[in-house]
Symmetry: D2
Subunit: 464 residues, 4 copies
């Protein structure tokens, strides 16, 4: 069934995913409805392979069924589902029609719908991470590392509360994103590898399987192993829901790291700050009415998508509750989970593109730094006073900064003028006095730490 | 651009909305991407109509532009947007290409993108309520009223904590949903009528409009009036966000009422309770492996959709914050709001269908009632004791019920056997004793109240 | 039972509410556990008053019970609750002990716990709005109006996407908060007035009441009227939950308006922008290590509280679902709702204090404006070009701004230099040319609109 | 400062935590405000210990400071904080007053507030897990294991969609909770062990530390190691927020497992099902007006608390965003995180108590099972038909069950009566026919799996 993309209601389908053929092609096997059906057919075929391996069906059945899975179309399935209102039975019926009468009984043999659906979902979500999300996140990480290393020595004022605090380097600021993203990539990998399937029947007690298989848990393990999965340690009609919750938590917290980075970039692009900028294309329009505008709209977009998708984890948490051996109130809701991955994937691509061509302005960084360079030394001044024995150094310097703001004089000058503080000043070493004279040197170990973080991230993630 | 529906990622597009042509046709003008563009063209055309009315453009321009809006295709727009990365400017460019050079300058004249977009959104959401959501909710309400009135005398045990409490009637139970739904329909109507537009320019101060119009606020009022809207009392680049928040709150709380009703119905369908059932079609399959199953899956579905969509209001609340005269982090997120209305609309249709053919089983209702009929009189017994002067009636009856459960005797018998309580019993009037003998009569004013609630709902909502 | 405030776990109790005796005194009757018990005793006493009015109990009983409510202590109640594990029965027992045997039977006569609890909660939440929240919000509104009017002519650059857009005035920026807050105050008033009680018994069918009262709904109306309430149009064991949901929605969206204002203020306080500042006390410390810091921590605090409390509305929405005539899974959760009101109340007080002594810096506002004054005219230039017949004015000016940024020349100069555009320029009226020369005049109707919004808010809210 | 517990506004403080002295005593060091201050003093003292170890302060200073931490009272601190409005500086001032002038400069030397606060928080949350949450969860797990093993052979009908599905055992049903809880305990342990501290100064670049320490990262590692912590791989003013997000995710998903179990128990306690019951005390009251009620209120309570606290994770996710080197909008919000742990802890205790004295009714379990025993064989019948070569077994049995419901006959009888199906029946082995005759045997490997799950959980968690 064809639909004009503009008749869709989901912004993913008509805007962020549907028209982006490159992204769509990569994600489709794991997130589209077609992909879902194909993955479920794969589970059905895998069952028959395991049955044949055990001599429970005639040789050749597995190959026949595997070949038949290619012949089942989503259109056939949809028509059958419309007739009988049961999507897994519809799938089974469609598949059975494509095989010989001899093969038919072995399809879906002893399975319940959610043996197929939950197992296929685990397979899809795991592959989705391995084939798309993690590789794309690694690409983003690579870009961030490159940028952080390039800017590791670029002086920038560090800001807390939106106020100038102490100097850092722009590369150091980026290294925080590098480190956090590395952590999340690892978390996503772990959660993806830990997704589980199940082949334990209608209420999880292997009721049907036990009739035919000596060790139905072994059959479950064998079948799942062929799909690269392990079984849920316990199951009802469904897999324990916590494995998926962990996975979605990894998605959401990864999204949070992206949103935080994007948020910083858009603030650094504020007119008054202007330390970075989104690259603009020649023909690009910034505003329908203000021809001069250059908005950080891609960064804004990433944060906006995060706002749209983050709260949806509440649904996943709510779906941890399922009455007795299961109620169906997690069925429709769970169908929306792939959207979260798509939103993240699209945001990763966008952010990578923007960060890889980020325009930085070291001149403005220095200009901004100099706005408060004189006050920045308040911290080292107070600590040096303390180190040289002043019993109430913080308070002394706090008053000095008030004086500096009133008089316009520098802190170092005021320090030397003060009868109370001069004696301490005189004990300062030349190197210590130098720091107070050159606040731009007061960046701690920003540059080395940047290198260290990037190196560690590369090693941990296998980035060359 | 065509897409196979099964290549979509949104369950709305591939399952709940896309393939439901009847629902889709009705909703599309208000929720699809095509509908969005058309509504924005309508705003652009309305501007020119107002300009012409004021003599600010040559006679005939409005008609020319109005005619041109039909010629702008979504495909044209998408191509232009891909080129310049600004969707409203792209719309304006497309529209300008369809008109004479003389008409061109009046298109989008003095407007900013969000004059168009927010105004069009208000128009769409309002119409969506008026043309689809409210009529469909009224249909559901009509079904519920009919059912409540039909079952107003059907004895059912009232349950609190899942435990038998006091008797009611099934119609009375339904009348709660009637009343609550009536309240929510009214709330949705109010919120929809209160959605606002804006024609106040890039930062809300009518900067450009002020250059050309004597009273730009009057122009705003006139333009919006033609769309059935009033202006936002203040605006920045965007309309005050609280009007939409109220609207979404109305959607979400309406959904909650539906989910609560669905939840009750599915519990009443539990095997052990079996007081109601979803109608089943002849060919329908209940389970892929348990051919005997008849699951309340439509009721489960409604609750599941509610779980999927309710938490999304958090995004709308988050979008109340927009920096200064606006940041764009509410842009992508706001595109997903129509999905909430679609999910609700689909659930309304589904619930109406199920409720209109609900299978009820008065026999099972009575059977269940009788399980605890003997204990149900504990409440009237205690109150009658109190009314006749027993100073600690609740405690006395509490002990009596423990005795009843131990001995298997009825409360009335134990009451008469008790030396302490018999004197009070003897003061009971015959009518009072009758109540204790006939617990099925102890339904209060369930039936009358049902009628009263239904009558009031019909009057309030204009249901004949 | 006394507890050291620092042994509490709730930041409200140990930090934001508990130690603020002034705030606590005003809120306590409506939000503390003691206040809850007292309001429930009030409902019990009101019942007896109504019974006496109807001649259903001896004259004087109501007065006796009313007097007795003062004698029930929370400590008595807690001890009884610990004994019998039922808080309403414990309350009844305690009250009964304080009255004569003759009066005892009339206490709680025909009521169920939630007749008392839901009615008392409606009374408390309504009073809370009327006595504290709305008055305090009006105080804040008054401060904002004063500030907006004072600054109505103070030039400020309007910002979208964090980028300079078009000029406004600082008062105009504030007037948006004035307008939105006025809307929310009205919404809160409406929702508070619409809270409902119930006196309909254990399953809402007036089962017990019907035994003794000719018209139990009339008794319900009479009782509630004495508390200033109307009855829930339908009820189960509990009031329809949507009335409270509307109230909490009003709280949360009000909080959103506060958070948005606070967010803007903290960004305007950024070092590079420095257009406003939080007033600092002489002894106040900005940072434990950076003696020079002056952080917008009160504004940050308001946003932080909003982040902490806004998502909690999800619980209220979840509590719309209650099985059959009620399950208790909304009991503990509902106890936390008053915290939301406390968090809002504390934030209102804080924001009012900060806004009433906000430090503004018109000099920095102008300095910032001038950063881009030359580009600001791009919008009027493009619209004037269009108005004078240029068929593609936006594109022409877009290119001109790129040229301006490259060459450093002004847009007006470039306009005159351009062979293509000069002819249009020559048609500009002197007034139109004046605008392009004086971008600081291009503030639309910012000042008048500010006055209009403030006047309307004052009228609507009865602020003198 | 003392407060009467009933004047508190938090239900934790006045009801669930405050009055429960046993629980409070265990939790207080990690969740109360007093505990917070003490843990922060511990960090300050640890700094001096590390300084002394490196010869950076005179011998004996560390001991002096450590001793002084005991002398700082929360009251002192609160008074100082009220004076200077900076809680960490207030703490430092208080501590400095308790030491000699010689020791004073070394307190807080080179630290920023959040070096202390984030490190102390990591220490508290980790200890909270290790000392209270995990041990209590293990206690609950032990109770569940015991119960599951005791009931491993107790026949129960498995339910999906609230409908009878296939038979299991009650112990098997419980084993799902055992398994899921084991998984969550492990997740919580991992997340707790992974919480990180930081000693990297005001913007995370070790600016001050670098002035005085050769390797400030080594000092950070040493200091944190004394607290059992590792450093955040990167930091700004604060630790990377993902470590806490993982911890809260573990809390919330653990809570979900509890809520799911509680939800099942309360449904099994429904009057019509009555398979389990909460133990009731002799004097306990079930309803203020219905003396016969025995409500599953503890189970309801656990679900209610989950509803109240689960959505709060949204705040934690929102706090992943912090502008530049930090904004303070995560400050107030983060103070509420300990409440989530308290709510969970209280629910664990409650659930353990209820489950350890759960009343089970195997008679009712069997009675319920027998309601549909005849239909339960539909699944094995269909699979056996398929196994013996029937090409459309599911459809055949689906029709048979419709026939069974119409005629009242058993499926096995109908099978033998059917000309079409009898041939297959005749191929069934005696053992297979036996299954159809004895549906209560059709429990798969429920009992063995229960044992396996419990054994694995015990091993994994070190439960003897």
């Amino acid at each position: 069934m064809q639909i004009n993309i503009f008749d869709c209601v989901s912004p993913l389908d008509f805007r962020y995913y549907g028209p982006d053929l490159k992204l769509r092609e990569r994600l489709a096997p794991y997130v589209s409805e077609r992909g879902r059906l194909q993955s479920e057919l794969r589970v059905e075929a895998t069952l028959v392979a395991v049955l044949e391996e055990r001599g429970l069906c005639p040789p050749g059945t597995a190959a026949e069924v595997a070949a038949a899975t290619d012949k089942v179309t989503v259109e056939d399935w949809a028509a059958e589902d419309a007739r009988i209102h049961h999507e897994t039975r519809a799938l089974v019926n469609c598949l059975q029609r494509q095989v010989s009468a001899a093969a038919r009984p072995f399809i879906h043999f002893t399975l319940t719908s959610f043996d197929v659906k939950d197992t296929a979902a685990a397979w899809r979500f795991r592959r989705l991470a391995e084939k798309v999300l993690v590789p794309d996140l690694l690409e983003l990480e690579r870009v961030l590392i490159e940028l952080a290393l390039r800017e590791k020595d670029t002086l920038q004022i560090g800001r807390t509360h939106g106020q100038h605090a102490e100097p850092i380097t722009f590369g150091f600021a980026l290294s925080g994103a590098v480190s956090r993203l590395a952590g999340r990539i690892a978390a996503l990998q772990t959660a993806a590898q830990n997704l589980r399937g199940k082949i334990s029947g209608a209420v999880g007690a292997y009721n049907a399987g036990h009739l035919f298989f000596e060790d139905p848990e072994q059959l479950e393990r064998d079948l799942l192993a062929r799909l690269g999965l392990e079984p849920s340690p316990s199951s009802t009609q469904i897999v324990e829901p916590e494995f998926l919750a962990d996975y979605v938590h990894a998605l959401v917290t990864t999204f949070g790291v992206l949103a935080d980075l994007a948020d910083d970039m858009r603030h650094l692009q504020r007119t008054e700050i202007a330390e970075v900028g989104e690259a603009f294309e020649q023909d690009q329009v910034g505003s329908s009415t203000m021809p001069h505008k250059r908005n950080p709209w891609n960064f804004e977009h990433v944060k906006s998508m995060w706002k749209a998708f983050m709260p949806r984890i509440v649904t996943v948490y709510a779906d941890q509750l399922s009455e007795h051996q299961r109620d169906l109130t997690n069925s429709a809701s769970a169908r929306f989970v792939p959207e979260m991955a798509v939103a993240l994937a699209a945001s990763v691509v966008r952010l990578r593109r923007q960060m890889s061509r980020l325009v930085t302005d070291p001149g403005n960084m220095r200009r901004n730094f100099e706005l408060t360079a004189g006050l920045v030394v308040a911290e080292p001044a107070y600590i040096l006073l303390a180190a040289h024995g002043h019993p109430d150094a913080h308070e002394a310097i706090r008053k000095l900064t008030q004086q500096a703001q009133t008089t316009g004089k520098g802190i170092v000058d005021l320090l030397q003028e003060s009868d109370e503080l001069r004696p301490y000043w005189e004990r300062f070493t030349p190197a210590q006095r130098e720091i107070l004279a050159s606040p731009e040197e007061y960046t701690g170990i920003a540059a080395e730490k940047t290198v260290r973080i990037c190196t560690r991230a590369k090693e941990a993630l296998g980035i060359p």
